[in-house]
Amino acid sequence: MTGDTLSPPLDLSALEPALPVLSEALMVVAIALPLVLAFAALVPAVRRALPHLLVFVPLPALIAALAVPRGLSVLVAPDPFRFTLALDAPGALLLGGSSLLWMTAGAYAMAYLRKDPARPAFMVWWLLTMAGSFAVFLVADVASFYLAYALVSFSAYGLAAHDDTLEARRAGSLYLALTVLGEALLIAAFVMLASGTADANPQIRDAVALLPTSPWKTPVLVLVLLGFTLKMGLFPLHVWMPLAHSVAPVPGSAVLSGVVVKAGVIGLLRFLPESVPLPGWGAVLCGAGLFTAYYGVAVGLTQRHPKRALAYSTVSQMGVVAAVIGAGILNGTAGTFTIAAYYAANHMLLKGAMFLAVGVAMASAPRRAWAVAGVAGLLGLSLAGLPLTGGAMAKYAIKLIVPEGVAGTLLTLSAAGSTLLMARYALLVARSGTEGAPPRGLILPALALAGLALVLPFLLFEAVTGLPAGVAFTPAALMKGLWPVAVGLAVAALLAWKAPRVPEVPAGDILHTLGFLGATGRTIMGGAVAADAVLRRWPVAALALLGVAALVAATLTFAVVPL
């Protein structure tokens, strides 16, 4: 893995020989701390102290991301706990990024919900989701991954459905239904994956190494791709994302879009083989990703609420990540996964900051909202890859993976779409001002996260790509990054001048064409209930009893078995 080339700025790996225990402890504490606090919240004293602690809970994870040497794997517990932790480069990038988002969004959430009587419940879900997200980036064995993935997925429901409006209930139910479906797909994949190995619960990388020669290669890949892209929100499995993101409280949306969705990314990175070319699969993933990238922009542009526009932007951006991963496994390009994780981490911070900005703007007077929109616009342009922003570094990095050609061109052009969507988002933010002044508790975390999002990609670029950061500042590179953004801005200006009247596509778009599924489901349930009423009538059940006896007897008699 190229992870070895990654040397984060604060690398304590020199300490490793002396302090391996420290590394192990850090990883365990990173996961255990939020988990323990979630349960400790049953104690009233802890519950009262939690709002002040929430900012610091992700600290061990942050330190672990920085300090734990790459590739270190610790067997935390043998059977019966079978829990293995390891940190590779993609995991470290996502872990570090998410810990920053959790910290800032945590501070933000406490201010945002300070008058909400249900804040304690939100904090518990928050901590559980946090523990799950850290775990999903850290665990190295199949069963623990499934556990962590389930934890982050199901706990996120509590964040999404916190406001308990009718829409929130609907969105939450849809999210849960798809999550359960995803879990079913993944358990089937994992069982097939594990049964090729000697261990019932193998290390993920050992199992994946055997995948290319596995008799179940095709079903495993189908299930893995379906299961994880469901979480990433690839078309047509994205329907839950706009619904859930738009109903969640602002900090909830930030971590949903920033972190929870990345559980799908890390899933793909962990369960797809990096160095073995999988041409057909890569092409499918890449194609689906590119389509989603454009689809998200197209539907997002029609949205009238900034959070929904952001949700569709996330759909689009996850399409980009999928396209990168697809292009990488198509050729078996080394380094793909680190760069994909780098791009995902960049998106994580930017999208988190953008969601937080929406909340700030909504609490601001209209004039102030325009100022917020300025920052938001800058973040958006960074996401689109405006040169000299952190996002440009991430865009530069992914072009190392996606070859020139149709895919490369489409990817470059998608940045123009992103620019357009971000312009729309900034406009919506500017218009969302109401009255009053946002508390500092909202502004400071949002600003801190925005700053980190704009700067961090520069610092990590060299470690991720192995290239000096200067390569992204050559005139050719700047030009290459600039023109899609310019095109996007030009189109945005054009649309602002003379916008066609396009009706808002309802959130969840194609979901509304699937209404017949609900009707079918109700028909099936009604039919089953009616059939059950018949089966449970005495004469029918008594006949069934005799029938079962006759069936078994007949099977035994007529099967040609010497008795």
Binding site: D79, P80, F81, R82, A118, A121, A143, Y146, L147, A150, F154, Y157, G158, A161, D164, R169, G172, S173, L176, V180, L181, E183, A184, I187, A188, V191, A194, S195, A200, N201, W216, I524, M525, G526, A528, V529, A531, D532, L535, R536, R537, W538, A541, A542, A544, L545, L546, V548, A549, A550, L551, V552, A553, T555, L556, T557, A559, V561, P562, L563
Partner: protein, 507 residues
Amino acid sequence: MSALLVLAITAPLLGLVPLLLLGPRTGERAALGMLAVNVAITAGIAERVAQGGRALGYVVGGFAPPLGVGLRADGFSAAMMLMAALVLLFTGLFAMTGPGDMTRKVKARGSAGMPATFFILLLSLACALNLAFLAQDLFTLYVALELLTFAAVPLVCLEGKAGQLSAALTYLLFALFGSVLYLLGVVLIYGLYGTLDIAHLAGLMAQGTGGATAGAALALMSAGLMAKAALFPLHLWLPPAHSGAPPAASAVLSAVVIKAPLFLLVRLWSDLAPLPLTQVAGPVFALCGAAAIVFCGVVALAQERLKLLIAYSTAAQIGYLCLMFPLAASDDGPWSALAWTGGTLHLVSHALSKAAMFLAAGLIAETMGHDRLSGLGGVGRVAPVSVAAFGLGGLSLMGLPPSGGFVAKVMLLTSALQQGAWWIATVVLVGGLLAGGYVLRVVVIALQHPDSDAASGRGLPDARECRWRALIALALAFGAMLVGFMPLAPLPFLDIGRPVTWEGLLP
């Protein structure tokens, strides 16, 4: 010869004497003591079996089978006995008259201990279950099944409401129909072989002289057991009986009572019938199990009452064990052993989680005054521990880690996939989806804000859940989670004492 086997059957009976002769409170305490002793005895049996690595045997009265009757504990039965004893003890604790139960306020809400009759029935259940797990004679097993039925039926109608009485009557009549078919099978077996001892019969049947009569006998006994286990399509009595009974009764009925006939079904086809026959008949049971999982799962989704939902879930979950038959009976050594372990673990974890869920549902219904799902919004606020117990129990049903249900599901899936039984794997997955649907539906409603619908005048009641009872439910749910820490490999303990033989066990 291990005296523990005799004690396992007789100790619970001794608890009846104080219950019938002394005051209700004294009797109740004695009963709980006996249930604890029962746990100790079964744990002792399991420990001996594990230590010795072979089955324990006892010949009652000193007359060896086939003339006399023998008791025998192998790994499988020891595991079942321990599970049943634990569930019975916890349910007994839940049902006891606790601190504060005698105050008028609590009594008015219905939260009081169960009458002495409940404990008589509970102890009889303990005896019947241990006998069903230990007896090696087909007729003694018939007596055990009847004992079980007669202890279970009155549990359904302890409160004497019309719905409970009619549910109990249907349960009794259908169970009787089942037992008379079982007995007919026993008669044919005796007519063929002149013995009813399982070990002797296994040897005789393997010689293959029974012809169609032996097949008919096995079929009749199996059908009778399926009727008592409420395996689809014979589940007519289960939903009304299990949903109508008082919570402590529902818990034991769903958790352990239906497990005894299932256990005997396994015993019949794994120990008595020769392997080729099991391979032929296995798919029939798996088909019934698959239909149960899918059909009853869908019906559970459509339920509007919490206890009915759980009852239908039980009818669905029974199916998982039946999926084990064709997998465990294959010639594919390690994978069939894995299916065997998976099926057993599913049985155990379902018992613990379902007991937890029924107890929790009882507390929820008691707190809210009803169990209509549409009116349970926000119940998580007044009954948080109960809802947590329900949710954690549900984790096992959904097959999510860490829970026994997850481990069992992984094992069944692995075995099914390795043996190319794609349809079984699909059913396991679909069953998980349906369980996810009906469990999460309840959890979601419980977590919502209470319906402050002014028009209907509904809201949360002032009552709070009975905390110590809720903690008992939670403990059972944690038990189901603990099963999830079993290694993902065939459990050698379950293979101890198979195939069945008396060799080395008799004096």
